[in-house]
Symmetry: C2
Subunit: 210 residues, 2 copies
C-alpha cells in the first residue's frame, strides 16, 4: 500500500526554514548586510555552514556587484552550469547572461593560446567585460586567464566571483584574484567552490529578497 | 607590465593530476572499482575528499546505472543545472537527457498536488522512468515525490542518484531513498549534495575514462 512521507511541500516555507537555520548556525558577524546575503546563499547551495569561514570579499565587492546588476550589466560565466543556474526572474534589469564555452571558435582558440577551452572561451568576451559581473564556478584556468587578460588591458569587470573548484590551481587562482589590485572580488578560499556556489552568489546579488 | 601566472594549462594534465591527488588522499577501500570511479568524480566536483565517508551505494547501484546508460536509457534530472552539466560526449549511447522543470504545465500541476514545482515536474516523467537513471541534485521534495510515485505504481528507474542538498528535508529524503526496498540508489548522506555532485555521478557512470 502506498504510504506518504511527512515533509514540507511549500517552496516558500522551505526557503524560510532553510535560511533561518543557516542564519542561526553560521558565523556571519564579520560580514555587512549585502555580504551576509551572499554568504547565506552560498551556504544554502552547498549545505555547509562552515564555508562562511572561507569567503573573502574585497572592500566594495558585494555593493559593486549589486550596482552592476541594477545597471543592467551582463553576467559572464565560465560554464553552462553557471549560466543555466542563475534565476532569470530575480535579475533586476533582465541582464544578459553570456557563456562562450560552446562557441565553435573555442577549440581552435585554445590550441592557439596553449590553454584550456575554459580559458580560451574568455577571449570571446571582449567589450562585454566592461563593468560586468564575472562568475567563475568551475575552471581555475579561466580565472588565471581572466587576470592575464586584464593585465593585458581588457576592460575591467565590476565584480569577479571567483569560485573555481578542485585540486589543481583552484586555491592558487582564487588567491591571485583576491590579491589583484583594484579589482573587486569575492572568493571561496581553498579547494571548495563550484558552479552552484557561483550561481548562489549571483542570485543573492540579483535581489534583496531572501 | 603584464605578468604571467605559473599554472598548468593542459586540460588532460589537470585531470590526471586532480584524480591522482584524489586517489592518494581519499579513503576508497570500501568501494569496488565502479563505485570508486563515481566517488572520485563526486570528490572532484566539490573539492572535498572527506565526502567519500558520506557516499552510500545500494548493492548493485553503480553496475545498474552503468548498464542502463549502455542500454541507451534516458537520464532524468530534477534541475536544469544537472541537465546542462552532463558531458554529452561521455554518454555511451547518445542517451536522452530530460528535465521537465520548465514545462509550462508544471506550475498548475504543483498547485494541484500541493507540492513544489520541482516535485510536480516529476509527474511528467511517466514511462520515461522505466529503467532510467534518475539524477536528483537539488530538491528534497523531488526525491520524496519520486518515492511516492514509485509507491503508487510508477515504472522503476534502474538507478536513483540522490544528491539533494540543504537544510530542510535533504538528509531525510536521501535516507528514505537508501531505505527504499528494491530500488538501486547512491546517496550522499546529510546536508551535502548538489547539482555538481549529481552530474559527477552521471559522468562517472557514463564512461570508464577517467
Amino acid at each position: 500500500m502506498p504510504h506518504t512521507y511527512d515533509y514540507i511541500k511549500d517552496g516558500q516555507a522551505i526557503y524560510a526554514k532553510s535560511f533561518a537555520t543557516i542564519r542561526s548556525e553560521a558565523r556571519l558577524d564579520r560580514f555587512n548586510t549585502e555580504e551576509a546575503r551572499v554568504v547565506v546563499r552560498v551556504i544554502h547551495a552547498c549545505g555547509m555552514v562552515d564555508v562562511a569561514e572561507e569567503v573573502i570579499f574585497s572592500s566594495h565587492a558585494a555593493h559593486a556587484g549589486r550596482e552592476a546588476l541594477l545597471a543592467g550589466k551582463p553576467i559572464l560565466c565560465d560554464s553552462q552550469m553557471v549560466a543555466h543556474g542563475i534565476t532569470r526572474a530575480r535579475l533586476p534589469a533582465d541582464n544578459p547572461i553570456l557563456c562562450t564555452l560552446n562557441d565553435p571558435k573555442v577549440p581552435e582558440l585554445a590550441r592557439q593560446i596553449g590553454n584550456t577551452r575554459s580559458a580560451a572561451a574568455l577571449d570571446l568576451w571582449g567589450e562585454h567585460m566592461d563593468g560586468a559581473v564575472v562568475a567563475i564556478g568551475n575552471a581555475p584556468t579561466a580565472l588565471f586567464h581572466l587576470l592575464e587578460l586584464i593585465d593585458a588591458g581588457a576592460p575591467r569587470p565590476a565584480l569577479v566571483i571567483g569560485m573555481a573548484v578542485g585540486f589543481v590551481g583552484a586555491a592558487e587562482s582564487k588567491d591571485a584574484l583576491a590579491a589583484y589590485p583594484g579589482l573587486e572580488s569575492v572568493i571561496v578560499r581553498g579547494r571548495l567552490g563550484g558552479s552552484a556556489m557561483a550561481v548562489a552568489a549571483v542570485n543573492a546579488l540579483a535581489s534583496e529578497k531572501e
